[in-house]
């Protein structure tokens, strides 16, 4: 079965963006995977996620005044597919010192989420917006109290060198990249109760990645979605990108109450 021409082609195309092949070490700067294939794969999955019924229902339930967008910056560092992160400055009013993607609120003058994400990226890390190859947008992710939602815009930055980027010190203290492989290997999870004293059906599970910094919260949620799309052979999705009923209460606990 495996020897038919179609199967061989599929197998090879999967191998192309499996970044753990030994060829990686030999061709350090030469991109072994084809970005076109990766892009097609991501776009296809994003479209299927966006068209899911549960998603459009949750969209209706959100009543947000402000929209926010982040750029999910896929890039290549030494031939390996990586994600780029920023360390938020301690001068910012919220989420000081936490790890996030470049992004911010959709403001007057932006044509939409994608435009806002690209503008913020240019402001925060100095990467010109015309050099970003925008692939698609993923379904929005909200925080668990549903007071804020963020639209992740997946974009490809090409081969980057973090040392060349000039961050805006008022907003970003540091820029760093982590390869998708390292993210898979450093993945962990935490199960949260929303009421400290007892289990409830709204308890949720959140991914966390212990790289040089701890990547948690909404950012980790987005990373989780990306890894489930691009690393599905070696990664089990933790949170499904939503803070909804995630946890089935075990039957005996439910019965006794």
């Amino acid at each position: 079965m495996l020897r038919t021409p179609i199967c061989i082609r599929l197998f090879i195309s999967r191998m192309k963006y499996n970044t753990r092949t030994p060829q990686k070490q030999l061709h350090a700067t030469h991109c072994v995977f084809s970005t076109e294939n990766v892009k097609k794969h991501v776009v296809k999955i994003a479209e299927s996620l966006t068209s899911e019924l549960s998603y459009s229902n949750s969209m209706k339930r959100l009543k947000l005044k402000n929209q926010a967008a982040v750029l999910v910056p896929l890039c290549t560092v030494n031939g390996e597919l990586c994600l780029l992160f920023t360390v938020r400055s301690n001068n910012l009013p919220t989420h000081k010192g936490q790890i996030s993607f470049p992004g911010g609120g959709v403001k007057h003058g932006d044509t939409g989420a994608v435009d806002a994400a690209l503008r913020e990226t240019e402001e925060e890390i100095g990467f010109p917006r015309n050099k970003v190859d925008v692939w698609t947008t993923l379904p929005h992710i909200s925080n668990h109290t549903r007071t804020a939602a963020v639209i992740p815009v997946v974009g490809y930055l090409g081969e980057v060198n973090v040392g060349d980027m000039v961050p805006d010190r008022n907003e970003v203290t540091e820029i760093f990249t982590v390869s998708l492989t390292d993210l898979v290997n450093s993945a962990s999870y935490t199960r949260f109760r929303i009421k400290a004293k007892k289990c409830s059906e709204h308890d949720y599970v959140m991914p966390v990645y212990f790289t040089q910094y701890r990547i948690w919260g909404l950012t980790a949620n987005i990373v989780d979605t990306i890894l489930s799309i691009l690393k599905s052979d070696s990664y089990n999705q933790i949170a499904e990108g939503k803070f909804t009923v995630k946890v089935k209460l075990s039957s005996d606990v439910k019965m006794v109450s």
């Binding site: 301690n90 999870y189 935490t190 199960r191 949260f192 109760r193 400290a196 004293k197 007892k198 075990s250």
Partner: protein, 524 residues
């Protein structure tokens, strides 16, 4: 002859006079002609006496040994001289693993421990058996570990191992035992509520504030509203999920390693294959990592002080904490030194400058502000995160000042520590470590916990060296790292005067640590 006598007597008195007139007697002593015992100081050997041979302690005769059995069980032992030994089973199960269960399972199991098993029909039988072995037994559960241990005669190791394995793997969780445990817990919860001692509640609250809704932030004590959900079925499910050999360590102090391994194979491994809860059945185990969140938890409460025997002041308690590190981190020892440096306690022990309480919270806080009833620094550290906090107690009307004092103390840490102060803190920590490790039960817990958490044991000497290497830069660095995290604030009592969380957060980012001045048109 008399002349000679008087001459030697004269010399004797002269040398005596000389030795008393100067501070250093040694330089004036001539080696006495007759090896005269009256004139030789004790630090110089007598000329005619044989040269002493001093005993040398061999450096690592007391090495912790560890073996891992096929089923994942780890056995570790520490040799120690003595008639008694302490042996126990440590299990990686605690309140942090209870996210999918009603809170307080481990605490409940602690109450049901040693209350009867397949060999001994009830608690009295167990106690009688342990008495015959010459000792005592106890179970203790904490946020991340549960320990079943006993101290008995050295030569009674085999019956003890049988008892331990039986108690852990074959407990009778029948209705009597469960009901008794429930009554005892109800009484305990009632006491927690009524007693003015804030200690257990404040620990719960600061953990809840620092690690909101996850792992170590989950309550350790059973909660009144879910206590009825703890029954034989849910307890067995917990045991089935977490009481697995690969999550356990058998530790012994004062025992022979090979003997301990053989007995563990014989009794513990055998019992693990057929526990009293069946191995088939629902399991739910959680491997969440602790995530520090920061935040505020306030409990507005009125303490009924009319029942206390001694007149007690009305107090409000507040604890302000920040993220620290896990105990395997390189910054763990600096945090421990910082904890010693801050120190603190109750104002009753303060006693003023002459008393000898030199930690910062005594010198800067309790000795200066008479209205502070207590100020103590705590450091809670687990295998994936930690929390450093300062807890203060004062009259509810002074709660704002209390918080102010604490935030200022935190902020001052970034100015650096005086060498004398740092050396004192390091010495105190080292001596506390060494003094505690003289007691066999403490050695047992130290060995067991270290092996359970990290797989290896750092000897006391290694720890003392690590403490010695802590410098002022380390302290400033860990203080800065701590101050960059979101604070955790917990308050208990009449907390209406507690400053807003944002004000506390802002104060901790300022170099002087001061709260913003609040202008109130109508005083609160």
């Amino acid at each position: 002859m008399a002349g000679r006598m008087s001459r030697s007597a004269g010399r004797y008195y002269r040398s005596l006079r000389k030795s008393f007139s100067t501070s250093s007697c040694l330089s004036y002593v001539e080696s006495p002609a007759n090896g005269d015992v009256m004139t030789t100081p004790l630090s110089v050997p007598l000329r005619d006496s044989p040269k002493p041979i001093y005993a040398e302690s061999a450096s690592e005769t007391f090495q912790t040994m560890t073996s891992k059995l096929n089923n994942g069980l780890t056995v570790t032992s520490q040799p120690k001289f003595g008639t008694f030994c302490t042996v126990g089973i440590l299990i990686n199960a605690g309140s942090r693993h209870e996210v999918a269960y009603p809170s307080g399972m481990s605490h409940y199991l602690e109450r049901c421990a040693f209350a009867g098993s397949s060999i001994y029909k009830d608690r009295d039988a167990v106690m009688l058996a342990v008495e015959k072995l010459g000792g005592i037994c106890d179970c203790q559960s904490s946020r991340d570990t549960t320990i079943y241990a006993a101290s008995v005669d050295r030569d009674k190791l085999e019956p003890l191992m049988e008892l331990l394995a039986d108690s852990v793997y074959q407990p009778t969780l029948d209705d009597d035992v469960i009901e008794q445990a429930r009554e005892s817990i109800n009484y305990e919860l009632d006491e927690l509520d009524k007693k003015p001692d804030p200690e257990p509640m404040m620990t719960e609250l600061i953990h809840e504030a620092g690690f909101r809704g996850n792992t170590v932030g989950l309550p350790k004590y059973p909660q009144a509203e879910t206590l009825h959900q703890i029954n034989k079925a849910s307890l067995q499910k917990f045991l089935r999920s977490y009481y697995l050999p690969e999550r356990m360590v058998v530790a012994g102090v004062g025992v022979d390693h090979d003997e301990l391994v053989a007995l563990s194979e014989k009794y513990v491994s055998a019992a693990a294959k057929s526990p009293s809860w069946s191995l088939d059945g629902a399991r739910e185990s959680d491997a969440s990592v602790a995530q520090y969140t920061g935040g505020e938890v306030k409990v507005q409460k009125h303490f009924d002080l009319s029942m206390s025997v001694v007149p007690m002041p009305e107090l409000a308690h507040v604890s302000i904490g920040m993220e620290s590190v896990k105990f395997t981190d390189t910054n763990f020892v600096p945090f421990a030194v910082l904890n010693m440096l801050m120190g603190g306690g109750g104002s009753f022990s303060a006693g003023g400058p002459g008393k000898g309480m030199f930690s910062r919270l005594y010198l800067n806080v309790l000795n200066r502000h008479h209205w502070m009833y207590a100020a103590t620094a705590y450091h809670h550290s687990y295998d994936d995160g930690g929390l450093f906090c300062i807890q203060g107690s004062a009259h509810p009307s002074q709660l704002r000042e209390c918080v102010h004092v604490i935030t200022q103390e935190f902020a001052k840490l970034t100015n650096g520590i005086d060498k004398v102060e740092l050396d004192r803190a390091k010495k105190q920590l080292q001596s506390m470590l060494m003094m505690n490790l003289e007691a066999r039960p403490v050695i047992f817990e130290d060995v067991g916990r270290q092996i359970l958490a990290t797989g290896e044991r750092k000897s006391p000497k290694q720890l003392c060296d690590m403490i010695d290497n802590v410098s002022n830069d380390d302290i400033v660095r860990v203080a800065r790292h701590m101050l960059s995290s979101r604070p955790a604030v917990a308050a208990l009592g009449d907390v209406k005067q507690l400053p807003d969380y944002e004000d506390i957060e802002n104060a901790l980012t300022r170099p002087d640590g001061k709260l913003p001045k609040k202008f109130r048109l109508f005083g609160r």
